[in-house]
């Protein structure tokens, strides 16, 4: 029931919100907040309970089903979580509520906005708890609908272009996923869509078939990550999307790609993985360097953060290529969580500035530190986190990835990836300097006000978690270690 509630409470919330008269803004906002807080606290409880009671073994916890859903197709309602999905549930619960609170400034078609947001939350939760392929696919696709409208209606000047681009890109990927699902379904004996069973059988598939399915899944999951060169939807979507949607996009949606690789395609097709791991690492390294360099050239604050996501998710790909190293895979999970927290916060903070200045152009600012000390201080903290300063979560994850993959991957390749550390500092510090240091333009920006309490409340939990994970990462590592050990045994088959 616990896992189902994560999906259905936001769905009920959506229906309730739709029943509220559309001009009762405040009622709508608070109702949505409450309906997102319930799954948030549920996800916190699950994390807590899982840590103390289930994290010792790799078995699925809180399993529901499999219940027959569409018997003719062997489709089941089947949910369960383990050490790699629990942290992401936590992240989804937290970021959803934060995003909803951060959306209180939305004044246009408020009712639809929050209804879509709750639908989005339900579908994201669904992706992370589904253990049936059909169910997984349904949630994966449903997610597109609210996202499309959230960008397309509440977005910036080029919102239609961005929304359609996002939609088509993902749909393009989904087709590959559908084909692959059909292949594994019809080659399984007896036909099944149970992901766990398929993982057990999948390694027995002939090599060519494994390669085809693996590559198809890789493309469809890769669009979400996004892997280079399938990433160009990301900057457009981020720039046009409203702040809260960017937070969800960067914080949760991108992780669905890497999560699906860990959950599905990696353990299901180990032979294909063996042959392709070098190229996966290459793609990851390109993303790291390319994303960082392109970030460096950006003139728009939000686009800079968006491209930095490409770079940061590249670290995850490098880690995934080093699949035999538990250190690297742990680093990958850490990077997913850490990137969600840090980049989520950066988008929130960019939104704070945009709400006041109505522009995100880096060059027009300068010297904000003197006028907005609290805002600048928080932004500096997260910039340092983003460039991987020790003591914060980004360092822990990057370090795990590097030291884990150095032992198993091509040394030169990993060394190039480490250059990302240098480039990361370059683009973040360039941004900090241009926006926060230097002379303050009193005439133009004299009216700016510092960050307010509601905004501080939205980023404060993220800051606390970023530092907590950076200083004491052990609980998070313990939570997932059994699952990751099990994962390694599956992928080295």
């Amino acid at each position: 029931m616990l896992l189902s509630s994560l999906i259905f409470v936001p769905l009920i919330g959506m229906i309730v919100v739709m029943l509220i008269p559309k001009d009762k803004f405040s009622t709508i906002r608070w109702t949505s907040t409450i309906f997102s807080m319930i799954p948030m606290f549920t996800s916190f409880w699950i994390t807590w309970d899982y840590f103390f009671n289930y994290s010792g073994s790799a078995a699925m916890a809180y399993v529901e089903g499999p219940f027959k859903w569409i018997p003719s197709l062997n489709v089941h309602y089947f949910l369960g979580v383990d050490g790699i999905s629990v942290p992401l549930l936590f992240l989804t619960g937290l970021l959803s509520t934060i995003s909803i609170v951060a959306s209180f400034g939305i004044n246009k078609r408020v009712k639809e906005y929050f209804a879509f947001f709750l639908l989005l939350e339900a579908s994201m939760m669904g992706v992370f708890v589904s253990l049936d392929f059909f169910l997984f696919y349904v949630f994966w696709e449903i997610m597109l609908v609210p996202m499309y409208f959230l960008i397309g209606i509440w977005g910036g000047p080029r919102k239609e272009y961005a929304a359609i681009k996002f939609f088509l890109y993902t749909l393009f990927g989904s087709i590959f996923m559908l084909v692959s699902i059909l292949i594994v379904y019809f080659t399984s004996q007896p036909h099944t869509l149970n992901i766990l069973t398929l993982i057990k059988q999948g390694s027995a598939l002939p090599y060519t078939l494994q390669m085809v399915c693996f590559i198809f899944f890789f493309i469809s999951f890769g669009v979400k990550v996004p892997i280079w060169p399938l990433h160009t939807w990301l900057p457009d979507a981020h720039v046009e999307a409203p702040t809260a949607v960017s937070v969800i996009l960067a914080g949760v949606l991108l992780k669905m790609g890497t999560y699906a690789m860990l959950r599905i395609s990696w353990p299901m097709f180990p032979k294909a993985l063996h042959s392709l791991s070098f190229w996966i690492a290459v793609i990851g390294v390109i993303a790291i360097i390319y994303g960082a360099l392109v970030s460096m050239a950006q003139k728009d604050l939000k686009k800079l953060v968006a491209y930095s996501s490409v770079s940061h998710m590249g670290y995850c790909m490098v880690a995934l290529a080093a699949y035999t190293s538990a250190t690297a895979i742990t680093g990958c999970m850490f990077q997913m969580v850490s990137h969600g927290l840090i980049t989520g916060a950066l988008f929130l903070l960019v939104g704070v500035l945009y709400d006041r200045a109505h522009t995100r152009e880096i060059a027009v600012f300068g010297g904000l530190s003197s006028k907005l000390p609290v805002y600048s201080g928080i932004m500096l903290l997260f910039s340092m986190a983003a460039l991987g300063l020790p003591g914060m979560s980004g360092f822990v994850s990057e370090f795990m990835i590097f030291i884990g993959s150095f032992g198993v991957l091509n040394k030169v390749l990993v060394s190039i990836a480490v250059l990302g550390v240098v480039l990361g500092a370059t683009y973040m510090l360039r941004m900090v300097q241009k926006v926060f240091l230097g002379e303050f333009n009193l005439e133009r920006w004299g009216g700016l006000t510092d960050i307010n309490l509601r905004e501080i409340i939205t980023v404060a939990p993220l800051a606390v978690l970023v530092i907590a994970i950076g200083v004491y990462p052990k609980p998070l590592a313990d939570l997932m270690s059994a699952t990751i050990q099990h994962f390694i045994t599956l992928v080295v088959r």
């Binding site: 681009k165 088509l168 890109y169 060169p229 160009t232 900057p235 390319y290 360099l293 392109v294 460096m296 050239a297 950006q298 190293s325 538990a326 250190t327 690297a328 895979i329 742990t330 680093g331 850490f334 010297g367 003197s370 000390p373 609290v374 340092m384 300063l389 020790p390 003591g391 360092f395 822990v396 370090f399 795990m400 590097f402 030291i403 884990g404 150095f406 032992g407 990993v414 060394s415 480490v418 250059l419 550390v421 240098v422 500092a425 370059t426 510090l429 360039r430 300097q433 926060f436 240091l437 230097g438 002379e439 303050f440 004491y472 990462p473 052990k474 590592a477 313990d478 270690s481 990751i484």
Partner: protein, 645 residues
């Protein structure tokens, strides 16, 4: 004793948290009190730890404390752990001691600044990071301190962030250090990959079994670590950030960019001396880079007009000496010079700060002169420091520098060329330092009237630290009196447990070497002292007695002067071959690859679908007659096909 180790960095952390989180809302005296006391407590504790360690028998002088498991993932694990041994004991005393004096000095120096609370918060954060750096028991935790001091350096260089030059300098420092970190990280990865641990004790114990002495892997590892050190310790090729770092407040230059942080690279190499001694080729590189940097920076120092820049290049040069010492496997001489340098260079900067304070912010020595009578305490302190850095016998710098020069000649890893370059550099050092003294304190008063009316000796909070450091600059070297004078070198003896393995290897190498005769040692020492005295005489001649000589020399060698004044155009060179290409490349990737190629392809695909579907759409005219015609045509074609084939 071990249970108190973590308190050493904890005190400044508490100071940082109080001043940092309250955003400087406390009264100023309170801010300063918290900041100074927290560092003072660390210093007192360091002294206790030192004497505690001294009371133990030399063989077991190593105390460890593990606070908790920090990162555990798969086969990797690293602790938050501290290690006190003779080396780190020296370091924590120097760091917290000099740091404490500079905190006191800052009370007066920063008195009028609006960012008082922020300043002391950063300074305490720096002390915390630096103490972690020297107390860490493993590479990774050391790296935490390493990055932490880098952050504080960034924040404090750019402390007056409204000034573009200051924020530029901060950014440059951070990024240049990150370039070095690239080496440090890779070095760490190789060590973990080979040894399976990052703990210093474990790595040093198993390195001789794991690595082939003189092999490629250990050489590469050491070179990578050294590359990291060149970033932090401002050596060729990554020294470029340090001169610009002078944009920060002067006490910061004294603390971070002279006495403590920049010596972290030297400390790191000495900490890993067991690895370096196994890689003679890497040692050779360290020695060469060290001595070349020492010489090169000294030549630039000859021509600078900004008082702080002279000292900055002098710091780079002196750090070069320390690396020279490391490179010839005279690790304890390197640490000895690190310590004496911390005293006299911190003092030089603080005196320079006192001068700048008196001169209402003027840093250009061309507008100073004759300050001796206005600033007697500053003058005398600075003179002591200058004697020390120049290597006047009896002063602290003499002993440490002489030991380095002697080792660079006599060590099995040294040779006469290294010695010769170091020897010439000693002359240059004395020359540019006395040039500074003469330009600043002697001769005509070249400042304008307004500034002149304002000149005053600094307040007590500034002069008392000067006096204490002046005393240390004089006597600080006496802990390491050379064998030559008939003493035992206490300092070397104290560090012996850290260097045990290294000393064994050196002793094994030395068997057949004839060098080490006292006659040669005396000869070289006298030669150095003579050169220093001659250099001082020339400085006196050119910059005091016959100042017209300076002008004519400058004109005669104008191209050389211009080259030196512009620091060999290295910044311009880096700009042209690294920075600008990188910027253009990033623009190319964005505008061409991302927007034109990838997006162009995707949008092109979308619009070609559009075209195709647009064309196809015209066939759906809705007119039945057209459909019937096409239908008929189809039927005809099919029938024709069936008939003819």
């Amino acid at each position: 004793m071990s249970e108190y180790l973590f308190l050493v960095p904890l005190f400044p952390l508490i100071g940082f948290l109080i001043n940092g989180l309250l955003l400087g809302r406390l009264p100023r005296s309170m801010i300063a009190f918290i900041a100074c006391v927290s560092v003072g407590l660390s210093f007192i504790l360091s002294l206790f730890l030192f004497f505690g360690l001294k009371a133990m028998p030399p063989e077991i002088r190593i105390v460890e404390q593990v606070l908790f498991n920090w990162i555990i993932a798969g086969s990797f694990h690293a602790n938050i752990g501290f290690m006190l041994d003779p080396l780190s004991a020296v370091m924590i005393m120097v760091v917290s001691g000099v740091g404490f004096l500079i905190h006191i000095y800052s009370i007066g120096y920063m008195r009028g600044d609006t960012g008082y609370g922020r300043y002391f918060a950063y300074l305490n954060l720096f002390m915390f990071s630096m103490l972690i750096l020297v107390l860490a028991d493993n590479f990774l935790f050391m790296f935490v301190g390493w990055e932490g001091v880098g952050l504080c350096s960034y924040l404090l260089i750019g402390f007056w962030f409204e000034k573009k030059s200051a924020s530029d300098a901060g950014k440059k420092a951070f990024i240049t250090n990150r370039v070095g970190d690239f080496g440090f990280l890779l070095g760490m990865f190789i060590i973990f990959w080979q040894v399976g641990s990052l703990n210093f004790t474990e790595v040093m114990a198993s390195a001789p079994q794991v690595f082939v002495s003189g092999g490629v892997l250990i050489t590469v590892t050491c070179l990578l670590l050294f590359f990291g050190a060149t970033g932090k310790s401002a050596q060729i090729p990554l020294y470029v950030w340090l001169p610009d770092a002078m944009e920060g407040p002067t006490p910061v230059s004294a603390l971070i960019h002279a006495a403590t942080m920049v010596t972290a690279g030297v400390y790191m190499i000495v900490r890993t001396n067991v690895l370096f001694i196994m890689a003679p080729d890497a040692l050779m590189v360290v020695a060469i880079i060290g001595v070349v940097t020492a010489f090169y920076a000294a030549t630039i120092g000859l021509a600078q007009n900004d008082i702080k820049r002279v000292l900055a290049y002098s710091t780079i040069s002196q750090l070069g000496y320390m690396f020279l010492a490391c490179g010839v496997a005279a690790f304890s001489a390197g640490i000895f010079h690190l310590m004496t340098h911390a005293f006299f260079k911190a003092l030089l900067f603080m005196c320079a700060g006192s001068v700048i304070h008196a001169m209402s912010g003027q840093q250009d020595m061309r507008y100073m002169g004759g300050l001796k009578k206005y600033l007697p305490i500053t003058f005398l302190s600075m003179l002591m420091a200058t004697f020390a850095i120049s290597g006047i016998p009896g002063f602290s710098g003499f002993f440490s520098k002489d030991e380095i020069l002697w080792k660079s000649f006599s060590s099995p890893f040294g040779n006469y060329i290294l010695w010769a370059v170091g020897f010439i550099t000693a002359g240059l050092t004395a020359f540019y330092m006395f040039r500074l003294i003469y330009l600043t304190f002697y001769g005509k008063e070249r400042m304008d009237e307004k500034t002149k009316a304002h000149i005053h000796e600094s307040p007590k909070s500034m002069t008392v630290p000067l006096i204490i450091l002046a005393i240390l600059s004089v006597i600080g070297g006496w802990v390491g009196l050379p064998h030559l004078f008939g003493f035992t070198n206490n300092f070397e003896h104290w560090l012996e447990p850290v260097m045990r393995k290294t000393n064994q290897i050196i002793a094994a190498r030395r068997i057949n070497e004839a060098v080490g005769e006292t006659g040669i040692e005396w000869g070289l020492m006298i030669a150095t002292v003579a050169l220093v005295l001659i250099s001082i005489y020339f400085a006196y001649l050119i910059y005091n007695k016959r100042t017209e000589l300076a002008t004519s020399l400058r004109e005669k060698f104008s191209s050389v002067h211009k080259l030196l004044l512009n620091k060999y155009y290295i910044d311009e060179f880096y700009g042209a071959i690294v920075i600008r290409p990188l910027i253009y490349f990033s623009l190319f990737l964005w505008k061409v690859i991302d927007v034109a190629v990838i997006d162009g392809f995707i949008n092109g695909m979308a619009s070609s679908y559009d075209d195709v579907s647009g064309t196809l759409r015209t066939m759906q005219t809705g007119r039945v007659r057209t459909y019937a015609t096409i239908f008929l045509a189809g039927v005809v074609i099919i029938i024709a096909y069936m008939v003819f084939y």
